[in-house]
Amino acid sequence: MSYLVSIVERLGGNHYVLDEEQSHIQVDQEVIAATGTGRVLVRICPAHVYSEGADGQILVADAGCLECGTCLALMPAGTLRWHYPRGGFGVSFRQG
């Protein structure tokens, strides 16, 4: 099934306007470690923006974000700062 390629390849087919200066996502590693919510964060994101590094740190590939807000809605307060990218930046749907 050629439409079920890896998530990286799927996102590669989308259009994005990358913001080289600002990231729209900041995670608080300490709060995530203390609350044990890292695994949830990794699972729930449809774009696999979050992954767990070898040292248990959460890595954020914000460039692939689809801007749905699932992470913000599910994560406890203090774990994550998430806002829409600056105007004109981020995902740019051609289909929608």
């Binding site: 799927r10 729930i44 809605a73």
Partner: protein, 431 residues
């Protein structure tokens, strides 16, 4: 300052925002439509079936002029299990005459809506993210974007499900996870001739599948398949609290649905055009119980929570349009009378109550409680398939009458009589 102010500033160029802005401009008011996407439509994503009859009131001949994909004449309500697929398959020529619903791709539709706004005199400002509301005491007086202030006599928030601005205005709090669901969608390219053959469609006609069952691996929500002009929109909608509890990755459930043998046959040979996700509201009727206004401020569309899942129709865009029409009426009256007080803004609720939007939100106020039943997402589909299997599987044993087949299937089902009865009663009471 007075002269520099727009009569209305609309934040967000989706269906609700464009309808509101267009109508206010048509009524002769100066309107700014601010959109954070580089182009209008770039941030917008729906399933998307649009019950679009309401659009004829705003844009006459909408279905022929707007870039819609297909006219939906075939609706399938489906229960998909691991190795069975039960469908209520309803095709009706009357659904095309007049057109009742169309499939749409929002990047195309919303770009067209914004063009109509521009032609009507709206100042369309894309690529601008509104960061805050401007206030004079309690009165909302404009918006701030990129350190620039823009004054408006009325501000209308149409900034979608995540509406940061509605939260800032103190209208919405953080929504409980069980009120929200994430939609994950692949748009898969399939030539129109093949698509029409595969889905039994006349040229221009479309099919819409709403699917519950194993397709979401027991997570509350469902799958969908909508035919576009030359593609299929296929994906899942997953209630957030259940997704979190399930232990599954969101993308894994999407892939499970699209990879199901009965689904993959519909998508065979297709190539991926776009992979997207967007939050949606599961409990619209609960959500819209919050305020919809502040002095100088109204809130429309998804930002306000106007969505409905009635079990058969999954609606958002028509309610967005309807709420936009009501808000534009209230805003027009306020502008004519130069009265932007709380009482003037509350006319919006009165206008809403008089339309199908307010009425339908009340009619289906209890619908979300039906979808809370976990049986829907596994056992109900299996039971339906077991009853049908009992009917069709002529294994040379003597046949029993239908009631006996049904009784045996229920006895074997994990659902049981009690849960089945409660599911039926909830359905009757809420749908």
């Amino acid at each position: 300052m007075e002269d520099e102010a727009f009569d209305a500033i609309v934040v967000g160029g989706g269906v609700a925002g464009c309808v509101t802005a267009y109508q206010l401009a048509q009524a002769g008011h100066s309107v700014a439509l601010i959109e954070r996407g580089a182009e209008p439509g770039a941030k917008n994503l729906s399933g998307g079936v649009f019950y679009c009859r309401i659009m004829e009131e705003v844009f006459p001949d909408f279905v022929n002029r707007a870039p819609v994909e297909r006219r939906i004449t075939r609706n399938c309500i489906s229960m998909l299990n691991g190795s069975s697929f039960v469908n209520l398959d309803y095709w009706d020529a009357r659904l095309a005459e007049p057109v009742n619903a169309v499939s749409v791709l929002r990047a195309k539709l919303d770009a067209w809506l914004a063009e109509q706004c521009e032609a009507a005199g709206v100042a369309v400002l894309p690529g601008v993210r509104v960061d805050a509301l401007l206030r004079d005491g309690d009165q909302v007086t404009g918006v701030r974007a990129d350190e620039d202030d823009l004054a408006g006599r009325i501000v209308i928030l149409a900034d979608g499900v995540n509406s940061f601005l509605a939260q800032e205005a103190g209208i919405r709090a953080k929504e409980p996870a069980r009120h929200l669901a994430v939609g994950i969608k692949s748009v898969i390219s399939i030539p129109s001739s093949k698509l029409e053959e595969r889905f039994q469609l006349a040229p221009g006609e479309g099919a819409a599948y709403a699917v519950v069952g194993d397709c979401t691996r027991g997570v509350a929500g469902g799958g969908f398949l909508y035919t576009n002009g030359e593609s299929v929109s296929a994906g899942v909608v997953l209630r957030l609290d259940d997704l979190e509890a399930s232990g599954f990755a969101a993308s894994e459930i999407h892939d499970h649905f699209l990879g199901h043998p009965m689904v993959s046959r519909m998508l065979e040979g297709g190539s991926l055009l776009e992979y997207g996700s967007h939050l949606t509201i599961e409990a619209g009727p609960q959500m819209v119980t919050h305020d919809l206004t502040r002095p100088g401020l109204m809130i429309v569309g998804d930002a306000a929570g106007f969505t409905l899942n009635t079990g058969f129709t999954i609606r958002g865009m028509d309610l967005a349009a309807g709420s936009g029409i009501a808000a534009a009426r209230a805003a027009h009256a306020a502008l004519v009378e130069s009265d932007f007080s709380q009482a003037a803004m509350d006319r919006y609720r009165t206008e809403l109550a008089a339309t199908f939007v307010g009425r339908d939100m009340r009619t289906y106020a209890k619908a979300p409680s039906f979808f809370e039943s976990p049986a829907l997402y596994r056992d109900a589909g299996l039971l339906a398939a077991d009853v049908l299997h009992g009917i069709f599987d002529l294994d040379t044993t003597p046949r029993t009458r239908l009631t006996a087949v049904f009784r045996r299937a229920v006895a074997r089902s994990r659902l049981g009589w009690g849960s089945l009865a409660s599911l039926m009663i909830t359905a009757v009471r809420s749908l």
